[in-house]
């Protein structure tokens, strides 16, 4: 198969902004005025801090390949997609590609609430690179796929958020480009629609031999649609090839970092006013434990700090557990165990108790979230590792069935034979 995208020695350097990314003219004036004073005082110019978000990236992608890009937060995935879609320029190196590119870094880019569904389809379609003729031709298909026929001449501000997402995605799903760049757009919408979209993507790639770059944290989605995967870490390609190998490499990476001090980790997302500073396990007597035991109670203690001195209102703390193949299993969340608003002191601890740990022997990863007023303040992928030893979840004292160690959950059940 011919090479369709060739990335050579690609690098992108960013300047770390001191406070905000844009300036007020006023600040620049002040700086200029202070300059002679600072020079007299012998102060040197502060050197701008720079860092490489991406460095020495080399990739050759063949026509029809569906390439998954995985890596922890801040590994350079988004930067790579942004350069590929020409939103930002590289600092060094080059990319050569053949044919047309469509990038979907967000669902519904350019959607405007005041415009009707129809107007938005035409607007969004042309922003994504479709011609008006092409959109007209596919208009009915798009409507049908989204299932919003009856509302098409209504402003989208009256749509439910689910309807908006469906309409936006179905425009995207009908794009025809040789190369598609997709960033976690599937993380939105209801589960059924997500499946429909994945199905659609599957169908298009198989039948049209389209090349896709796909970024996701969802290993399930990567497994389902990718034919090849690349792991990025600190702006470099550390693994390239077989999907399963790449996923397990990535999970090992997350596992090893999950044992690092939570406070100093940089691979996090969220606004950052509140940050997790520690995670450990305790038994019911508040003694620290290194491991948890299958079928026994365990307390997961999350420590956090905020920059504010006042208490945090309307908080939501949650932990998502995933197994060794990166499958997300379940989520423990304060929003389901607490009625009304959860108010927390500006810094402290929260403890999550699982009465009978439903895991067999193996390692499970915990992704942790801290939200205030519905806004994610801190999110750490692999914020902690839960090492589970065999225990008495089942009365027989046996753990997971063969081949299921560290995978899935244990469920109470019984068998009748006659």
């Amino acid at each position: 198969m011919e090479t369709i995208v060739k990335i050579e020695n690609l690098g992108k350097e960013y300047v770390i902004a001191e406070k905000s990314r844009y300036l007020a003219l006023r600040d620049t004036f002040v700086k200029v005025l202070k300059l002679p004073v600072n020079l007299l005082k012998g102060k040197k110019f502060r050197k701008k801090e720079k860092f490489w978000a991406l460095r020495d990236v080399n990739l050759e992608v063949k026509k029809g390949e569906v390439i998954g890009i995985i890596g922890r937060n801040g590994a350079g995935k988004s930067t790579l997609l942004k350069i590929l879609s020409r939103i930002t320029d590289p600092t060094e190196g080059k990319i050569t590609y053949q044919g047309s590119v469509a990038s979907l870094l967000e669902v519904g880019t350019g959607f405007h609430p005041e415009l009707t569904g129809r107007e938005n389809v035409f607007l969004n379609g042309s922003i994504l690179g479709m011609s008006q003729k092409e959109i007209s031709k596919k208009f009915n298909q798009i409507l049908e796929f989204a299932g919003v026929e009856d509302f098409i001449d209504m402003p989208v501000k009256r749509y439910s958020s689910g309807m908006q997402v469906r309409l936006a995605f179905s425009v995207a799903a009908h794009l025809e480009a040789d190369i598609m760049i997709i960033d976690e757009v599937l993380a939105v919408g209801d589960a059924e629609f997500q499946r429909k979209c994945l199905g659609k993507m599957d169908e298009v790639t198989r039948t049209s031999g389209r090349t896709i770059f796909f970024v996701s944290h969802d290993m399930g989605a990567i497994r389902r649609i990718c034919t090849r995967a690349v792991v990025l870490s600190n702006g470099k390609v550390v693994k390239d090839g077989n999907v399963e190998e790449a996923i397990s490499y990535y999970l090992d990476d997350v596992r090893s970092i999950s044992q690092k001090n939570l406070k100093n980790r940089e691979d996090r997302r969220g606004k950052g006013n509140v940050r997790f500073t520690g995670l450990h396990l305790e038994n019911d007597e508040c003694k620290s434990m290194a491991n948890a035991i299958s079928g026994e109670p365990v307390n997961i203690v999350l420590e956090y700090e905020s920059q504010k001195n006042y208490s945090l209102k309307n908080c939501r703390v949650s932990i998502v557990f995933s197994d060794k193949i990166g499958q997300e299993l379940f989520k423990c969340c304060t929003s389901v165990t607490h009625d009304g608003n959860l108010e927390l002191p500006s810094s402290g601890k929260v403890k999550c108790r699982i009465d009978r740990l439903p895991f067999g022997r193996g390692d499970y990863l915990m992704k942790i979230f801290f939200e205030v007023n519905g806004v994610v303040e801190d999110e750490v992928d692999g914020g902690g590792l839960l090492e589970v030893l065999s225990g008495k979840f089942y009365e027989t004292g046996k753990g997971s069935p063969q081949g299921w160690d560290g995978k899935g959950v244990l469920v109470d059940h019984s068998w009748k034979t006659n």
Binding site: D89, S103, G110, S126
Partner: protein, 270 residues
């Protein structure tokens, strides 16, 4: 198949005509969107395009025509000033809207690639449509004040073209610098106000007497004078128009290249 190469630092003097042509539809679609949005949120909609210049004319007629008694080349002051206000509002709304256009469309800029210049350029089209709507009033005014409109009215086309070019140049500068310095958009209304007094909108260019050469360096002077002469059937000052077009071209090219030179940082800054 078409081969594309992505490399660092494209030269600012390289103009990709083919690409601009490929994105012509997006230009139209974005202009249309701006127009639809602008008038969907208002009760009387497109009537705003008529009311604004009309009310301005009434106020100016009272202040400058009745009280200050500014000269108006022997034409009734309302018609005289409306012919100036019309073109001036095209220019001023175009640059006001365009200067915040990049920041208003930050979502597009960080998510999708297209020639960025389309954004400020397409916003100026909305002001052009406003102008065309408000132009209709001229006929009513001319009839009422008994000012004949002759065939010389076609000369509004070169005046309009020059104004559009000038507003594009100025828009490029403001739109691009507003990405980096957000206080531009706060200073702009003030700048525009000052500029209006430095332009023969409410008075003829001859009013400045021996200092009229300063006034003539302002490219809007020649354009407004021409626009007014075209409507009122007065003789056209071609040398002045040529001078204004010269300055306009310099501003346009300067604005364009300034925009191109900072364009690649937009997605990182915005």
């Amino acid at each position: 198949m078409k081969v594309t190469v992505i490399k660092p630092k494209r030269s600012i003097f390289h103009i990709n005509w083919q690409e601009l042509w490929e994105y012509r539809e997006l230009f139209v679609v974005l202009a249309l969107k701006e127009f639809q949005i602008r008038y969907k949120q208002t009760v009387i909609g497109v009537l705003w395009a008529l009311i604004r210049p009309l009310l301005t004319m009434v106020v100016f007629t009272f202040l400058f025509g009745q009280i200050a008694k500014l000269p108006s080349q022997g034409v009734p002051y309302p018609v005289f000033s409306y012919a100036g206000i019309l073109l001036w509002s095209f220019f001023s709304t175009a640059i006001t809207q365009a200067s915040s256009s990049m920041t208003n469309n930050s979502k597009l800029i960080t998510k999708i690639y297209f020639p960025r210049i389309i954004i400020p350029a397409s916003t100026t089209i909305v002001s052009l449509i406003d102008y065309l709507i408000a132009f209709g009033i001229i006929f009513g005014l001319a009839k009422y004040f008994d000012v004949p409109i002759t065939s010389s009215v076609i000369y509004i086309i070169p005046a309009l073209f020059g104004t559009w070019l000038l507003s594009l140049g100025v828009s490029f500068i403001f739109a691009a610098s507003n990405v980096k310095y957000r206080d531009i958009q706060y200073a702009l209304p003030f700048i525009i106000q000052m500029l209006m007094y430095a332009t023969p909108v409410i008075y003829p260019v001859t009013f400045a007497g021996k200092y009229d050469w300063i006034l003539k360096l302002n490219p809007m002077s020649g354009l407004i004078e021409m626009h007014r002469a075209a409507i009122l059937g007065l003789p056209i000052d071609w040398p002045l128009y040529a001078l204004s077009m010269g300055v306009t071209l310099v501003v346009f090219l300067g604005g364009y290249f300034y925009f191109k030179s900072v364009e690649r940082y937009f997605a990182d800054l915005i």
